[in-house]
Symmetry: none
Subunit: 212 residues, 4 copies
DNA sequence: GATGAATGAGCCTTCATTCAT
DNA sequence: TATGAATGAAGGCTCATTCAT
């Protein structure tokens, strides 16, 4: 449904979508594999079966391609995540468990998009260029959401008052990102589902005690 | 004492140490800040108050400079860590807590060296070039050590038999690296000591329950 | 006919041939004038009215450009030479005279290609890199052909049995290359045709006596 | 006797001569092997067991080192050659035979010096820099001498009047240089003495007929 | 819609050269 | 006497970018 929104879409538009899709997928894959700076437009174009020129035709610049990828990742991952947690009724710990569960599912369905976001958040910390700021922006949304959950949890007594909000939200993100990166790094060697479960059970136990 | 081992060191040797030191420190700092690929030798040389030529005089190539940094990081961080945990008597959970405590201290004393290691481990996953393989090698040492600790802990009943060794070791590294990266990312915004304590207390609670 | 094989060739292909042609001609000229190592890609690009980038677009590296030049020189000079002498009926001395006559004509028509070959064969003798080996390969073809001619000449009594094959073939090449180099060196000062005739008449007399 | 001209030479001067000797010999060897431009001062210094600085201490620049080599080659090879042919009584053909015989002996005794001269005469033909002009100067001496011999031979009837002086002198040099280069190129493969004899006998026969 | 030719800024690297010691 | 440290100009090469077709 997403792809064929307009059933009367003409051939040109179809071709356009097809090419853009191939380029973005190739870009996601290669940026995750080699890092943004180490990966050339040549690489991406070749992987997509097109030429460098096509990238400029569709995206105008390398930076803009990256911004598009970030938009996609935000729309596919962060928006649904926030929506999901907003709608969800439940205690703070439950919401945090949901956070892990939900993004883990994303990480399995769309590993490149999630990993692209995480790797971009790490590759550069200068904060000077547009893409860096865009990444920060996305991360701030996540931090903001988590801090609200934690604060409410503390207010309602679901979480210990002593928990430092900011540091704890940071810990959640850290554990999550670290988990995804290690999962990607050790690829073949570990059992994904087992690993994810180990992570958030440990984590939840950590906050609430082993009964939770 | 390490630096001034020979107090009667001649001027040339002193100059050499001084320059190498300035270059490696600048390299550590800039690679952590901008990533290896995004950071030029010009940047590094300027930050060290020297010229590109000096880098080639001392290190022969950009890749070799990186390898030297990895050697330094391994010697300053990983070697002492492994030694520390080897010597230490205690249960598996205590050793894992020590792992966090020890490297956190390293992360505060020599943040650039630890972060350089972590960032390099993330920037590229192709595993094709020498530096990539060197990073993997270093990480394998850490993984190996952790897996031994976990296995012994399981054998002695200090850790639940149900704990999957490999996945759990991965979780420890993931949490640790994620923590360091987030700490670095949010820099001014969070309280380092408070954060680190939050991390490993949560983590330990997660394994052993809140009393531990 | 060779160049305009397809009269309906499209513009891109024409442009390509034109640019490649200009670059190779410039490269031949400059390498002959200044030597391979002393001549920069900047020099070549400028002489061809293009930029360094264009060289890499077409040839990928300086070494590869040289290899292309060697291929061209072999195809234009050595192949026809060997074919010519293979087809030719006649005694060994006649064939050797033909050798001089034929390559002298080549040397006048395409002086840069022949001289490039000769100069490259002299500039380096390390034999370590690819281009060096390629040059040796080409020269071995010439030596092989000459040695066959000499051996047959000795067998048929056209050449004295006492003539040492290998040394004599070397002499032919030495005289020929020396001649071309000196002709190039003294450029304006000597009469090319007169010089060439002097060379091979002297040479032939040397083998067969003044009557030949 | 040449080296220890002053029997009371002090240690410093001896050391000086020793170092200069090692450097020039290394330079001769390497320039012949790799060509002037392809051979770095580092190479030379290392081969001499010294450092780059020493070269500048003794020679001031790379070009100046080359000029010194050319001076040495001229003094050791060209001066004795001209002296030898001047003193020698005999016909023009005999003098030319002497020319080959004499330099061949030089080529065997001091191959690097003679080959350095020849290779330098080929590597560059721009004639713009000092070293190029110096090489030309040396070659002009040889050409001048040969042309005098040929002219006198023609005047006295020892050589055919029809012989074009300039072209013939060029031929002599061409044959000689070509011979030396090929001898060096085919190194192990050919018999030096046999080769040289083949060359000049052929050559002489060429001018005078097989009886000479 | 997409390509192939070409550019130019900037990178890593080399190397002759300088100089304090 | 000779070295080791350091430089700077220039070389080969990469890569994002432009543009005519």
């Amino acid at each position: 449904m997403t792809k064929s929104a307009a059933p009367k879409m003409n051939k040109k538009a179809l071709l356009r979508e097809e090419s853009i899709g191939r380029l973005t997928q190739a870009a996601f894959r290669l940026i995750v594999a080699k890092g943004y700076h180490a990966c050339t437009l040549q690489d991406i174009a070749e992987a997509a079966g097109l030429t460098k020129g096509a990238i400029f035709f569709y995206f105008e610049s390398k930076e803009n391609l990256l911004l598009q990828l970030l938009d996609i990742a935000e729309a596919h991952i962060v928006d649904p995540l926030i929506e999901h947690l907003d709608e969800k009724r439940g205690t703070a710990p439950e919401k945090i468990a949901s956070f892990f569960r939900f993004t883990s599912k994303q990480g399995i369905d769309r590993p490149h998009e999630l990993l692209c976001l995480i790797k971009m958040s790490i590759e550069s910390r200068t904060g000077t260029d547009i893409a860096d700021r865009r990444v920060s922006e996305i991360y701030e949304r996540i931090y903001g959401m988590l801090e609200v959950i934690v604060d409410r949890g503390k207010a309602s007594g679901e979480l210990p008052r002593s928990l430092p909000t900011r540091e704890f939200a940071t810990l959640v993100v850290a554990t999550h990102d670290g988990m995804m990166l290690e999962w990607h790094r050790r690829g073949g060697g570990i059992d994904g589902r087992l690993f994810v479960r180990t992570v958030w059970q440990t984590f939840l136990n950590g906050i609430l005690g082993p009964k939770a």
